[in-house]
Amino acid sequence: MAGKASATPATYSPSPATRKGKPTIYKDGDRDWVRPDGRGFQQCRPAFFRTGAVNAASGSAYAEIGNTQVIVSVFGPRESKKAMMYSDVGRLNCNVSCTTFSTPIRGQGSDHKEYSSMLHKALEGAIILESFPKTTVDVFALVLESGGSDLPVIISCASLALADAGIMMYDLVASVSMSSLGSDLVIDPISEEESYQDGSLIISCMPSRYEVTQLTITGEWSTNKINEAMQVCLDACGKLGKIMRSCLKEATSATSE
């Protein structure tokens, strides 16, 4: 708009110089650092869940927690492949994939092959496999945007999708992760915080039964830290479980109207 250089206010004015090179968010010994999105150390991002995202699936759910978006479809119980042996309990098959556009750099997110087996372990303790013998339930998770703390979001979303599909479970599975950065513990880290972390703790639990289905700790932790982190995470899982339950109730009340 070089011609309209005079008094009329510019229709578009670029915002004041945003720093292109962000300094590291955390330096050793820095006492008063603040999380990039301004949350408290023990504050999780707001969570949004919706079931029924995919019509073709037996059950599905979409979860958006901060910048992390995940969609999960559940197919089944359906006939197990003929090659598999007879089994008098049901089988669970999990698969997690990331879209190529889920990370800031294209194609970088696909090195998490272990997420599929970790999702399987988190869910198998909650599903009543005896209720669908000889058949398989397939859980397919797709990470649309990876904004940090991906696996916990995948696990929570998958258990909602299983509930939406009507698979019998002992309880919903809620999952949160915690990062240790120096001497601080922060819950629900974003990807920037995760890249500086000294250690991480991912816990999946069934809130009503107060049972842990999966716990994974990386990095060096003293027992006190583990204790403290577990208490905070279990509390967060309880609250997340309530949010998931209210989402399911909304879905059923919407369909009954």
Binding site: S117, Q197, G199, V212, L215, N227
Partner: protein, 287 residues
């Protein structure tokens, strides 16, 4: 392995409840551990660990490489486990993919620590030759030759023994290269630097059968487990990695109790392992 009859299952569960397992051990006793080092002459370091019927081999090879641009002052370590069909016919071809991936990731988690490198058992900055340009890439490969339960603990011990047997060749860097060119490196044939393994953790797997935990489960006992927790503990008593595998949910207080039991057991295991490794090294030096 053939299936177990109902009577055998009850025998295993009842024995564990009474602190007397089928092979006469107590709940928190390991099977005898045999360590041999230097079993693979072409590798920079290697070890073979036998834990009862479980037999694993670990080898360490070091190659010159470039450090990653995001961490120019650290070398790289890749850990990979594979299961040989000699252990079980189902491991032929791609049958071992799932188990190998699980074991590889569990070992990586225990030995390499968090993303920033803190708490790692292996000091990656000791692998750097010229910062930003030349570093050592360590390839640690584990092979399961025979499987009778407790693979992760045996692999952890084998990796520890292999790393203490590892000699990294001395490297001379040509001093006159500057700029973007790869410096000329001259690798000496006589091995020098012994790897520092004092920080390496040991892995203790606690298997819950009924209401009790056992250490070092055989594959029969593993078939009766409700869940298992593998904890890696270093010399300072800190947890370097933890993963809960398998089935049923556990009360959080049970997990914390398992961590303290594992700490107690890990001291004995670490001492036993250290003495076995130094004995094995002494035999190798003599021969």
């Amino acid at each position: 392995m053939t299936g177990l009859s109902v009577g055998e299952k009850l025998f295993i569960q009842g024995g564990i409840a009474q602190d007397l397992r089928t092979d006469g051990r107590k709940r928190l006793t390991y099977r005898p551990i045999y360590v041999e080092t230097g079993v693979i002459p072409q590798a920079n370091g290697s070890a073979r660990v036998r834990l009862g019927g479980t037999d694993v081999i670990a080898s360490v090879k070091a190659e010159i490489g470039r450090p990653s641009p995001m961490q120019p002052d650290k070398g790289k370590v890749a850990i990979y486990v594979s299961c040989s069909p000699t252990a079980a016919p189902m491991f032929e071809g791609r049958g071992d993919e799932e188990l190998s991936a699980e074991l590889s990731i569990a070992l990586q988690r225990c030995l390499l620590g968090g993303k920033s490198g803190a708490g790692a058992g292996i000091d990656l900055s000791s692998l750097v030759v010229v910062e930003g340009k030349v570093c050592w890439d360590l390839y640690i490969d584990g092979l399961v030759v025979s499987s009778d339960g407790n693979l992760l603990d045996a692999l952890g011990a084998a990796v520890k023994a292999a790393l203490s047997n590892t000699g990294i060749p001395r490297v001379q860097v040509a001093a006159d290269t500057t700029g973007e060119d790869q410096p000329e490196v001259d690798i000496s044939d006589e091995e020098f630097l012994q790897f520092d393994t004092s920080n390496l953790p040991v892995i203790v797997t606690l298997t819950k059968v009924g209401r009790h935990y056992i250490v070092d489960a055989t594959s029969e006992e593993e078939s009766q487990m409700s869940s298992a927790v593998s904890i890696s503990i270093n010399r300072r008593g800190h947890t370097c990695g933890l993963s809960k595998r398998g089935g049923a949910g556990l009360d959080p207080s049970v997990i914390l109790d398992m961590i303290s039991v594992a700490k107690h057991v890990s001291e004995q295991l670490m001492n036993k392992l250290d003495s076995e490794i130094s004995a094995a090294e002494a035999i190798e030096d003599d021969s």
